[in-house]
């Protein structure tokens, strides 16, 4: 017998930040159930606070950032989610105790450089790869 058509709930559209806009202007971004979605957060490593400025010439510290937030279904393309992360989130919905959600991690990293004196007063310049988070996503 034809059942009365169930009214489909309106499709929820997650207004998520576009990955190419640095989060920080989307501070109040929340997913559907009011949780923070996966995004980049500010984190400043201060050489001044660490007390190193008498031998580190430059910089005074650097913005390292970090990734934090929920990777809850639906993982829109805005969350830089890999296909595997989307699949894992689906399986998590079916077996939440067996399979965890995808996790929020850096998808793009860049280097930072430090100029300092060594014990012979020579000046050294070191470049360190993968020390600054440029973008986050669900993996």
């Amino acid at each position: 017998a034809a059942r009365p058509l169930k009214r489909r709930p309106p499709k929820k559209t997650n207004e998520l930040p576009h990955p190419h806009k640095l989060p920080g202007i989307f501070d109040d971004v929340h997913g559907s159930d009011g949780q923070h979605v996966c995004r980049r957060h500010k984190l400043y490593v201060s050489f001044q606070d660490l007390g190193w400025l008498d031998w580190v010439i430059a910089p005074q510290g650097y913005s390292a950032y970090y990734c934090d937030g929920e990777c809850s279904f639906p993982l829109d393309s805005c969350m830089n989610a890999t296909n595997h992360a989307i699949l894992q989130s689906l399986v998590h919905l079916m077996k939440p105790d067996a399979v965890p959600k995808a996790c929020c991690a850096p998808t793009k990293l860049s280097a930072t450089s430090v100029l300092y004196y060594d014990s012979s007063n020579n000046v050294i310049l070191r470049k360190h790869r993968n020390m600054v988070v440029r973008a986050c996503g669900c993996h």
Binding site: Y66, L125, M131
Partner: protein, 244 residues
């Protein structure tokens, strides 16, 4: 600093680190950054002294490497390209030599290379010396040649290894950059041996000239114009850090 910090997991008591734990954390951050840890400077803290030639040059490199160097149209030296470690060497001993009967002059610089990290690939090495306009050799063309002192001999002239030759005018002024990359092959063979660099100046007709008369400044120059050496390294893949 920065935005709202990470929310502590439920039930996790946040507490302040004790001084010892704080020092351990700092040591951890130093290790991640590959910094050697606070040096015990021999001289008064270098930062308190007048800006010297090497730190000034290295600060330009820092801005170029950190990507801030746009305003000056790119890195101050082509060697910066692939390097991820740059060392400047200022501690050197300088000899001014003249062999009277042959009227042969040279300047010799000795560098302590014990700080060179063993096993890193040298991509380039430069010797930088400042030249003032010469008031003794007007309108002359000068040939500046640089050799590495490979081995000193007691009964005869030292064994020398040719490194670079630059030609300039006696009235020229500025930093003269001599390429000493070829000498780095010997560093890895004798890591703890000082590096000896010898500099000659000749006129077009082959006459040896005292480098000081040609306007080349040595250790007696003002700090911002003293000679120094810069070495560019490509650091191998960082060794997997043992969990601490």
């Amino acid at each position: 600093g920065g935005g709202p910090g990470p929310r502590p997991p439920r039930g996790c008591l946040q507490r302040r680190l004790g001084p010892r734990e704080r020092r351990d954390m700092q040591r951890e951050i130093l290790a991640v950054l590959g910094l050697p840890g606070r040096p015990r400077p021999r001289a008064p803290p270098a930062a308190a002294r007048l800006p010297a030639s090497a730190p000034l040059f290295m600060l330009d490199l820092y801005h170029a490497m950190a990507g801030d160097g746009d305003e000056d149209g790119g890195p101050p030296t082509r060697s910066l390209g692939r390097a991820d470690l740059v060392m400047s060497f200022v501690n050197m001993v300088e000899h001014n030599q003249a062999l009277g009967h042959q009227e042969l002059h040279w300047k010799e610089f000795r560098f302590d290379l014990t700080q060179i990290p063993v096993g890193e690939e040298v991509t380039a090495a430069e010797f930088r010396i400042y030249k003032l306009p010469s008031t003794h050799l007007l309108n002359r063309t000068l040939h500046i040649s640089m050799f590495e002192v490979v081995r000193e001999q007691s009964n005869r002239e030292s064994d020398l290894f040719f490194l670079d030759l630059q030609t300039l005018r006696a009235e020229d002024e500025g930093w003269l950059v001599l390429d000493v990359t070829a000498a780095s092959d010997h560093w890895s063979l004798n890591p703890n041996k000082d590096l000896g660099l010898r500099l000659y100046v000749e006129t077009e007709d082959g006459r040896s000239v005292d480098p000081g008369l040609a306007g080349l400044l040595g250790r007696q120059a003002p700090r911002s114009k003293q000679p120094f050496m810069v070495t560019f390294f490509r650091v191998g893949p960082s060794p997997v850090r043992a969990p601490r």
